[in-house]
């Protein structure tokens, strides 16, 4: 397989050299006319969706970054941290509100779960 690849590369290089010499020794209009057959046909026949194309290029094409958006809006580092703190507080309030809506049994289960988590965190920190 390796020898096949090497042989193929040798052929490619030989073609590159031959073609480059042709470009040097012929008028621009002549070589470009032939080159355009390759270029135009591949450009005109390309039919990929945006998603397929980005997957092929292994690039992300959708993202949302609130912190950098704030940077864009002219926020300083400190203002950014304040925004982040507000986000956390907002989430905490939402959770409190949701907790109020729970039934007695669900509340007991949640308290038990939180306590078991706390115990495991304390245990881990002691071990470390």
């Amino acid at each position: 397989m390796n020898s096949f690849i090497k042989e193929n590369q040798k052929h490619n290089i030989r073609f590159v050299d031959t073609w480059a010499r042709y470009v040097c020794t012929h008028p621009d209009k002549e070589w470009s006319h032939q080159q355009n057959i390759i270029i135009n046909s591949s450009v005109r026949n390309a039919s990929l969706t945006k998603e397929e194309y980005f997957a092929m290029k292994q690039e992300k094409y959708r993202k949302s970054n609130r912190t950098s958006l704030r940077k864009l809006q002219g926020c300083t580092e400190l203002q950014n941290k304040e925004h982040m703190l507000k986000d956390i507080e907002k989430k905490r309030d939402e959770l409190r509100h949701r907790r109020k809506q729970l039934t007695k049994k669900e509340k007991q289960e949640l308290t038990a779960l939180v306590q078991s988590r706390k115990k495991s965190i304390t245990y881990c920190s002691k071990v470390h």
Partner: protein, 198 residues
Amino acid sequence: MKFDTKGIIVLDRELSDLDRFTLEFTTVLEKHVSYVIVSGYVSILFGRARASEDIDIIIPKIGFPSFQKVYRELKKNSWYCLNAEKDSDVFDYLQENLPIRFANQGKVIPNIELKQAKNRFDDLALQKTVRVKLSEGELIISHLELQIAFKEAVLKSPKDREDARHLRTVAEGYLDEPLIQLYKEELHEFFYKRKPKT
């Protein structure tokens, strides 16, 4: 193909779809910001027998107001950004050194891959440029020595090595070989031996 020592190359080539596509984009871009074309399209422009689905263009770092002007005019001229629609979202990509892609409405290929300069070699490409005169306009490309060195010392894929080989042959006698070697050493140092920041 006529190589001028003053950084001008005259190409009397028959224009391809890719050439016209690039000229249309740069005509809008150059009204607002300087630019330089790099990588694969440079060798295609000089006759390499292959196509490309994207054109790589580097621009200097610009602020949001300047970007808004460029973006607005591109949209007015039927271009769209493949990454996002809102100008602030698109600019966000550039701010994080991510490339953004532009294509004609309803198409994905070909597209322009636009990046902000992010290292000294990008800055160098923007400073040392070559004007290529075509029958329907002009294109600004990076000087060929840097392109060859980058392909041989950094990218190194068979396709890139062939691109460099083609450029070496068609621009023989015009190229500054010691400069290519110097760039290759510097690029190698920068991309492969650079110590991580502590």
